[in-house]
Symmetry: C2
Subunit: 212 residues, 2 copies
DNA sequence: TGAAAACTTGGAGTCATTGCAAACTTTAAG
DNA sequence: CTTAAAGTTTGCAATGACTCCAAGTTTTCA
């Protein structure tokens, strides 16, 4: 019994509600759409919406949550001889070169960010996600290196790498909002990555090299 | 006419409302206090509260807003031969050594952060302020250096320095929450500042040196 | 098949936030 | 000193997010 009917239905319902809501938000903006409208459009009750999502913002940022552990995944998957920083830069470059929608390199991203910036609540929530990336990576680095509880270095490295990620995403968002096409935005992003790597200190670049 | 009765009264009323609200929040937590209660305790109408503050969170974070342009002020006031980074580290060290409440080094800070962490809205807003520090500093660095519009370096330096500031504040908050006294927390913060400076790259450390 | 467990729903209630117009206060001109 | 204009405060009403609850429904499983 890998997954019962119940589980499947739940996931579908959740996805459906999120999709419908996202569509409405992109069309009319975040504040101009009420939960009641989302519920009606998704053909469920208002309470059901709240069964699946804690707050209105989660309806729009649901997908973005997979971003939180992105850097941790990169670091865990780093190759032999590769530092945490090496892995993060390498993987980010791959995403950028592939013009991946995972980092905002797709047509509709401009409108998405427009909606985000259009709402105080949503904008703040984004800053929160950013911080969660750091916390998540900090934990991962500590697990990977077995660093002492009161060693601050992993936190500092996590801060630097999540800054790289956040700055990259922010720049892409900005360029897309300015009307840039994914292709050119991708090329600019690669330069930015180079610049950021050039700005980091040795201690960060060489942290958590995988020996085995 | 430096300031009429009207202006003075407004400032007093605003301060009074903020003080009363802060008191209640510290006592009972953010969500457990309604605007109606704040209004009653401050002896004004609910609408007056909204005349002065955009949202409930602003009642609690009003003071924190002076933090946004802190780094910009440090940079603008940097001495001859001093880089932006030098100035920021120097001034932060001064605040830390002085055990200044401006960076959370006072008894009540633990409770303050407890309340902040206790509310989703409040926590997110803090991340937003953090980002504003960066944006503000970016603008200042561009003004100070006359950097070209599409030069990304000032943004990167601003990102690094606001990271230093945010990490410092975060660490102090964490230690105070863990029950540390301001004195010891101050000493630990100095070490952290050294660690962070050691982690930064040359490009950042030497940016925007004041020659004249 | 017959509950128990898990979902959905309608309805009522709390509270943040906004819009509006009446009532009040301060300012500044006469 | 009086008074109208401008700015401020307030009560009232309404919208919409979010929570609680109790009454159905559906799915699971012994």
């Amino acid at each position: 019994m890998s997954e019962g009917l119940r589980e499947r239905k739940k996931r579908q319902t959740r996805q459906h509600i999120s999709d419908v809501a996202t569509g409405l938000f992109l069309e009319r903006g975040f504040d101009a759409v009420t939960i009641a409208e989302v519920a009606e459009a998704a053909d469920v009750s208002v309470n059901t919406v709240y069964n699946y999502f804690e707050a209105k913002e989660d309806l729009f940022l649901d997908r973005s949550k997979s971003v939180v552990d992105r850097l941790s995944r990169f670091v865990r998957a780093r190759g032999k001889g590769e530092s945490a920083s090496d892995a993060v830069f390498r993987e980010l470059r791959e995403l950028v070169e592939a013009v991946s929608p995972a980092i905002g390199l797709f047509e509709g991203y401009a409108r998405f960010m427009e909606v985000v910036h259009g709402s105080h609540t949503l904008g703040s929530r984004l800053g929160f996600l950013q911080h969660e990336v750091l916390v998540d990576l900090d934990r991962t680095l500590r697990e990977e290196t077995g660093a002492d509880e009161d060693d601050t270095l992993p936190t500092l490295v996590a801060g630097q790498l999540s800054w790289v990620h956040g700055t990259l995403m922010g720049r892409i968002a900005q360029r897309m909002l300015e009307g840039a096409e994914p292709g050119p935005a991708s090329r600019e992003a690669l330069v930015l990555l180079d610049d950021m790597e050039a700005v980091l200190g040795e201690k960060v670049l060489k942290y958590a090299v995988r020996d085995a």
